[in-house]
């Protein structure tokens, strides 16, 4: 096993995962805001933000789908050592990670059931950069209006129509995250 597989986890798990969880929670509670997140140093094909989110939210009982170029031996070994989560296809995953192009089509992911809307997937979308420009967001957690650079508006509008079912999105880049829960209206 390579040394970089074993390194790059939280050096102080209790504090770092609490800080990271706070960032994820703030991002979800206030869609469109961009939060700083740090802690993990995953292999190069995964951003630090995405690695930190995975370390914070996932464990041995959360199946992960690795989409596209992220599905490589380095990342699999790193996640196996630090999280131990099973790797599955899109239809059975609880978390999916990848670039927007690799993650599509969104119809492949579980959106939950009427009895259990929480049994849906959370998509961690790796983006080149996050800016407060682009699509207009409104809904719970947004006072008047927020803006966020989204890859494709139509997909998020269609996802909003599924409410209370649907997917939740976390956008990651380098050391920043933003989120788009299923409650947010995109225009």
């Amino acid at each position: 096993m390579q040394a970089n597989t074993l390194s790059g986890g939280f050096t102080n798990p209790a504090t770092q995962s609490a800080h990271a969880f706070r960032s994820v929670m703030e991002a979800m509670a206030r869609p469109g805001t961009i939060q700083d997140i740090e802690g993990a140093e995953p292999p190069a094909s995964l951003s630090s933000a995405a690695g930190t989110v995975l370390l914070t939210l996932c464990d041995t009982e959360t199946p992960i789908y690795l989409a596209g170029a992220i599905d490589c031996a380095d990342v699999r070994e790193w996640l196996s050592f630090h999280i131990g989560s099973p790797f599955v296809g899109p239809a059975n995953c609880m978390f999916a990670v990848g670039s927007w192009d690799a993650l599509e089509p969104l119809s492949a992911y579980p959106i939950g059931t009427s009895e259990y809307p929480d049994r849906s997937a959370t998509l961690i979308v790796e983006t080149p950069q996050l800016t407060s420009l682009g699509a207009k967001l409104s809904g719970p957690g947004i006072k008047d209006q927020a803006m966020l650079s989204l890859p494709k508006r139509a997909a998020f509008q269609a996802n909003r129509m599924l409410f209370p079912l649907g997917l939740d999105f976390i956008f990651t880049t380098a050391h920043q995250i933003a989120a788009l829960p299923r409650t947010t209206e995109v225009s």
Binding site: L6, S7, H82
Partner: protein, 163 residues
């Protein structure tokens, strides 16, 4: 906390010639050593080297499986508490530890010994730590077996049936 799907077999697999067999053997010894014993032996021999954590000690449980008579179908014997950790020495060797019980300090020591066994100090450690541990474990086993043997009852029949 975590729960791991890894299964440790009660029955030792006889796959002699495997490259990791010797490491398996010493990790098994360290896993079963009584509390504080490895630390006492290690500190009697050498200074603890500096290291960095790859995974700080954490406590979880694992399912222990066994086979009746070593040949039956595998069954779940029960869960046991284990402590695990991983660390790396300044010279680059990686040490892992999975030990029984809730003993973080012992897990750290066991991982240190595992890492040091991959360095040129291996011979010294075998002499000072592993051999005494093995001897103590064998002695404890023998003592227990002797105690059990003292209570053994032999049932025999002088005549069988109508023969």
């Amino acid at each position: 906390m975590y729960s791991c799907g890894e299964e440790s077999q009660v029955v030792e697999m006889k796959d002699t010639g495997h490259e990791n067999n010797s490491r398996k053997a010493w990790m098994g010894l360290l896993a079963k050593a009584p509390e504080g014993r490895v630390a006492a032996l290690l500190e009697g021999e050498m200074e603890r080297p500096d290291f960095t954590w790859l995974r700080a000690p954490e406590i979880g449980s694992t399912m222990v499986r066994g086979r009746a008579g070593a040949i039956g179908a595998p069954f779940n014997l029960g869960e046991m508490t284990i402590t695990r950790c991983a660390l790396t020495l300044e010279t680059g060797e990686t040490g892992h530890a999975y030990i029984q019980g809730r003993r973080k300090a012992d897990a750290e020591t066991a991982a240190l010994v595992d890492a040091l066994m991959q360095t040129e100090k291996a011979a010294r450690l075998r002499q000072a730590v592993l051999n005494p541990l093995e001897a103590e474990m064998n002695a404890a086993k023998a003592a227990r077996a002797a105690k059990a043997a003292a209570t053994k009852v032999d049932f025999f029949t002088m005549t069988r049936g109508k023969d």
